[in-house]
């Protein structure tokens, strides 16, 4: 029935998340997935919905990052459309970074 050879949704989401590691945030110099900027990836019928945020509200690189996400996911086989939704809530903070990113940036673990 499926016209494309893609595996089920969870695998697809994982694959898309992997693919997004090519997109980096230029201000910090790390990929957006490990920075935990990507909140949600939903894929249905070839249309991918990405919900993400930026490190700062006034991010100069915002359009570049969004365009990078669109380009990156559009390259994946079977993806016919990419929708990127930038939200500001829940707000991003350095505590949200993945453990690996935290170690690279020497993020302080104390308090706020």
């Amino acid at each position: 029935m499926a016209t494309t050879a893609l595996p089920d949704d969870a695998e697809l989401r994982e694959a898309l998340r992997e693919a997004l590691r090519d997109v980096i945030d230029p201000e910090l110099g790390y990929n957006i997935v490990d920075l935990e900027l990507v909140y949600d990836i939903a894929a249905e019928g070839g249309i991918v919905d990405v919900t993400m945020t930026m490190t700062t509200p006034g991010c100069t690189a915002q359009d570049y990052i969004v365009a990078g996400v669109e380009r990156c996911l559009a390259e994946e086989a079977g993806v016919t459309g990419v929708c990127v939704n930038v939200v500001w809530s829940p707000a991003w903070s350095p505590r949200r970074m993945s453990a690996r990113a935290r170690s690279v940036f020497n993020i302080r673990e104390d308090g706020a």
Binding site: A2, T3, T4, A5, P7, A15, R21, D22, I24, P26, E27, G29, Y30, N31, V33, Y39, D40, E44, G45, G46, I47, T51, T55, T56, P57, G58, C59, T60, A61, Q62, D63, Y64, I65, V66, A67, G68, V69, E70, R71, C72, E75, A77, G78, T80, G81, V82, C83, V84, N85, V86, V87, W88, S89, P94, R100, V104, F105, N106, I107, R108
Partner: protein
């Protein structure tokens, strides 16, 4: 859709270039011994040098930074870019006239000075007017924007007083009435300029940049608000009371002026306290090079504050003024400006050069020159980026460079493809001739070695093939090869494949800060059914008309809720402008 037309101010590099040239010229005069602030004889050359530094270097630097950051902070682009183009041109021309006017001060023809000043004012007013809508757009107004607004208000006061003083100096007829402003008016011109316009704007921009790059909290709380109100109120009071005291006598005016200065000094002290708090509260433990150097600027500001306080208390402010001007102008403002410029220029250059490649493949991770001093004495792009491409992700910010070694297998890095080169199969001639290369493709796949990939060159993306090939153990990818669970990669030729995929780009930004749980999404596009509207057999449309690619296969979609779709400005020719039609559901293909 593409960023650089909206978020990147095109003329900011022009501002910075002019500003740096003026810095050189402004410093050359004292360096050559021509400008001595303390010597009355060299007053006119000193004045020229100071204005080269203040109007030429610092003002253009601030405007360039504002043109870049105000739209980004406000979340909207400027309506027109041409004021940003005219401002540096007009300012440079006016500044040239001013410097000429200073040079011949006291002689005929010195009316060049107010003429140049008027031109400068007009250019800066044009620039400020184009920034104001963006400044006032965001609600609630952020703290850094409030500082910028206060700074621009002081700029207006400074230039108006300066023009008045210039007219008083050079036009004899006006000298009679306006002469009362001289010579003390110069002091208030300096106060409004250095403390009001430059310092408040610098504080505002620093409140934006420092938290951004050091990962410190943006919200400065009550302390930040205190700096704003004390600073603005204090300096304004001192300025107004001082000018009023020149025009009318009054002991209470002198007291008001002292109180204003004290409040302003307190604001500076609170700002230094807040900056210390910001540095301590940063999440990023390693302070980048430029922020470490910026500490010198803050030290100069503290020193100037201490010197001013001591001079005021001992009543020797006038003798201390040249030293204070040097400390504030060169130590605090130029120090902060150059250190932040170090990062801003590199950052903007990175965005211009690599921003368009985000998502396409590896890009240098590190903005050059933001690392430890030992490694950055003569930074070269090669050494800076060798270990720092997004595929490697091995270098920590601030660490000295290590020789590049491919990491063992970091989890975020794609596993390399198999050793055997992929089999290249070009079916484009057959497709263009109207043939059916399916049999050839299947034969080639059957002949693949274990672990070998297939590189397919086609005139369109063979989406129907994916289902078939996946059953044979191949996972289709259009770019960097990937050894997934499903086996070997397939590479349709990039250029033609992408042109005809008709990927629907959809993007909408939530300016109202919508929460994640209730994010409204655009209604999903209905999946197109396989049958074409005109009933043509899809198989025959594999043979597209020359030059049209596979567009005949595509069915126009219902209007998509696109906010903005566009292409890069001429940079990537295969990304066409306008709305793309999505590929239809591929027809069932017999295995």
């Amino acid at each position: 859709m593409i960023a650089d037309s909206d978020r990147l101010a095109h003329w900011t590099p022009a501002f910075f270039a002019c500003a740096l040239v003026n810095l050189g010229l402004g410093l050359a005069l004292p360096a050559l011994g021509l400008a001595w602030p303390a010597r009355a004889a060299a007053a006119s050359v000193s004045l020229a040098s100071v204005h080269l530094l203040t109007v030429g270097w610092l003002t253009l630097l601030m405007f360039g930074a504002l043109f870049q950051f105000v739209p980004a902070i406000a979340g909207r682009s400027l309506k027109r870019q041409f004021p940003a183009a005219l401002t540096p041109i007009g300012t440079e021309a006016g500044l040239g006239l001013m410097v000429a006017g200073f040079a011949i001060l006291g002689r005929d023809g010195a009316v060049l000075l107010p003429a140049g000043g008027t031109l400068v004012i007009a250019s800066l007013a044009l620039g400020a007017a184009s920034l104001l809508p963006a400044l006032a757009a965001k609600r609630p107004v952020p703290l850094s924007t409030r500082f910028v607004m206060a700074g621009l208000g002081f700029l207006l006061l400074t230039v108006l007083l300066g023009l008045t003083l210039a007219v008083a100096f050079t036009v004899p007829a006006a000298g009679a009435t306006l002469g009362v402003l001289l010579p003390d008016g110069i002091g208030y011109h300096v106060l409004a300029g250095l403390c009001g316009w430059f310092t408040l704007t610098a504080i505002g921009v620093s409140y934006e940049l420092l938290p951004m790059f050091m990962l410190a909290p943006h919200d400065r709380g009550a302390l930040g608000a205190a700096v704003l109100w004390l600073g603005t109120g204090g300096f304004l009071t001192a300025f107004a009371a001082g000018i009023a005291r020149l025009l009318w006598a009054g002991a209470w005016l002198a007291a008001a002026e002292q109180a204003g200065r004290a409040a302003g000094g307190l604001a500076i002290a609170l700002y230094l306290l807040d900056v210390t708090r910001l540095y301590r509260a940063r999440k990023r433990r390693q302070v980048e090079l430029h922020n470490r150097a910026g500490l010198g600027a803050f030290a100069a500001l503290g020193l100037a504050l201490a010197l001013a306080a001591a001079a005021m208390v001992t009543g020797r402010l006038t003798t201390a003024v040249p030293a204070l001007v040097l400390l504030v102008l060169l130590g605090w403002l130029t120090g902060l400006g150059l250190t932040q410029l170090y990062k801003i220029v590199a950052f903007l250059a990175w965005l211009t050069r690599y921003g368009g490649q985000l998502g396409r493949g590896p890009v240098p991770l590190r903005v050059p020159c933001s690392r430890a001093p030992t490694s950055c004495a003569w930074p070269s792009p090669a050494s800076c980026s060798q270990c720092c491409y997004s595929g490697a992700n091995t270098c920590a910010p601030g660490a000295p460079p290590t020789p590049f070694r491919p990491p063992a297998d970091p989890p975020h890095r794609r596993p390399p493809m198999s050793e055997a080169p992929p089999l290249m199969l070009d079916v484009r001639p057959e497709l263009r001739a109207g043939g059916e290369p399916f049999g050839r493709i299947m034969q080639a796949v059957a002949g693949l070695a274990p672990g070998q990939g297939l590189r397919l060159l086609a005139t369109f993306e063979p989406v129907p093939l994916y289902a078939v090939l996946s059953r044979k153990g191949l996972r289709p990818r259009r770019r960097a090869p990937r050894r997934g669970r499903l086996g070997n990669p397939v590479h349709p030729e990039r250029r033609s494949g992408r042109r005809d995929t008709g990927v629907r780009r959809c993007r909408f930004g939530r300016r109202d800060g919508g929460a994640l749980a209730h994010a409204a999404r655009a209604p999903r596009q209905p999946r197109p059914d396989a049958a074409r509207a005109d009933g043509a057999d899809p198989a025959h449309t594999r043979n597209p008309a020359p030059g049209r690619g596979a567009r005949s296969m595509e069915r126009p979609r219902a209007a998509a809720p696109l906010s903005r779709v566009g292409g890069m400005r001429g940079r990537h020719p295969h990304e066409a402008r306008g709305r793309r039609r999505a590929a239809p559901d591929p027809p069932k293909h017999p295995p």
